[in-house]
Amino acid sequence: MSSILQVRGVERRFDSTLALQATDLDVEENDFITILGPSGCGKSTLLRIVAGLDRPTAGEVALDGRRIDGPGADRGMVFQSYTLFPWLTVRDNVCFGLRERGLARAQQLEIADGYLAKVGLGGFEHHFPKQLSGGMQQRTALARALANQPRMLLMDEPFGALDHQTRELMQELLLGIWEAERTTVLFVTHDIDEAVFMASRVVVMSARPGRIKLDRAVALAHPRHYAVKTTPEFTALKAELTEAVRAEVLAAQTARA
């Protein structure tokens, strides 16, 4: 397997605070990497740098060997906040990137309706975002990002604002889509269950200044059923990660005190 994304010595300083310190990460094609860490550890910063929405103060990120110096359609992103365009219907939101590429309307609609069906929103094409629940908005945002056929999907705690039950369903939905399409995913979260359940690799970051502390492959077989969460393999990995994250949360608290 070849790595499609290389993060090399990436560092991010905000004024005098070092948020992210010399970080290296290689992402293989078809990887589903979840990034865990205490809040303020720079995991979102790292993701935003990969997206091109933020710039590293040192180091560089390359996608397919080309240095990233700004956002682009090759890295689709789903945000924690609801970022559907409120003036566009669900369908036109999903068409947004396709229209930008100049695709014919018929082709746009075919692709958009296909992805809306995949995220279970067939029949909601003509709704406006404000008429949807939070979970449905995030499913639309996922369809919008996937419709663009990006090389990578970047997700910044996309289910963070949802209630627990909806979040679990969203995890299954995303995992199902990934198992079918194998789009490379970089997924930031602070939910350990979520991180283990969907990932092929889990990365734990340290308290600020953030750096990668632990990198574990998740050997659970696919397709994964939600019942996998109660298996001994799952529980053992979860216990190890819980310890690792907890140590960092405590470190972050001591540093603040």
Partner: protein, 259 residues
């Protein structure tokens, strides 16, 4: 009554109408009751009768037409220039830094104070009337549009970038459509201000228009006609406001959701 609890639609209309009734009743008592001299305040019936005479025999409809034309003319010119400039200022911070201090200064200049100068420069013709309205509305419009566009949610901008838009596309497909409903509301508000400027412009050096009729009536101490003129302005303002609101709601149904 409890604070912030909404009122039923029927009750709302009844209450709104009730104030007009109370107002006219007080006016009737003051005039028919002989508490106020006719020279200072005409009674409602006399006002209606002279209003009818104005409309039927003295060509007041023509005056109304002139005034409406001036308001719309000055306002449309101001809006046509303010829209692109405001959007450019909202989107590009150097453009804003260049214009903003001057516009902020200019918007406090009272439009009516320019009338003597404008008469000197543009005479007492239509250009002068349009210029007063332009000055009164343009600077406020530019500034408010710039603020609205500048307040575009940053996460929407970022989402658009990750979907592959460039800067021009961002302005056309995100900044403008996102700001449109608020800009339309601003236009509606500033149109209301334009109505106050037009009357001031017509009070000085005009040979037609509602303001001109009011100045003429002042010379004759015809308070009935003056009041009729003022009420006509109020009514036209109310109608144009309602029409604007209706159009905004039809144009931007999505902005009404979740309110």
């Amino acid at each position: 009554m409890k604070p912030l609890v909404p009122v039923a639609p029927g009750t709302r209309i009844v209450l709104g109408v009730a104030f007009f009734v109370v107002f006219v009743a007080a006016w009737c008592v003051a005039t028919f009751g002989g508490f106020v001299q006719k020279t200072f305040l005409a009674d409602p019936l006399l006002m209606l009768r002279s209003g009818w005479t104005l409309l039927a025999q003295m060509g007041f409809l023509g005056d109304i037409g002139m005034t409406v034309w001036r308001v719309l003319g000055g306002f449309v010119i101001a809006a046509l220039i303010a829209l692109p400039l405001g959007v450019a200022m909202g989107a590009y911070k150097p453009v804003e830094a260049f214009f903003e201090p001057f516009v902020s200064f200019a918007r406090y200049l009272p439009a009516s104070a320019f009338i003597p100068l404008l008469i000197l420069w543009a005479g007492i013709g239509e250009a002068q009337k349009l210029a007063v309205i332009f000055i009164g509305s343009f600077f406020n419009l530019v500034l408010m549009i710039a603020v609205i566009v500048g307040n575009t949610r940053r996460d929407l901008v970022e989402a658009a970038y990750t979907l592959g838009v460039g800067d021009r596309s961002l302005i056309r497909r995100v900044l403008i459509p996102g700001a449109a409903p608020e800009i339309a509301e601003t236009l509606r508000m500033v149109l209301g201000w334009a109505w106050t400027y037009v009357i001031v412009a017509e009070l000085i050096g005009a040979s037609s228009g509602i303001g001109h009729m009011i100045t003429d009536s002042q010379a004759l101490l015809a308070t009935d006609q003056i009041i009729f003129g003022i009420i006509v302005i109020g009514l036209i303002g109310l109608v144009s406001d309602l029409a604007f609101k209706w159009v905004n709601r039809r144009l931007f149904p999505w902005a009404q959701l979740g309110r």
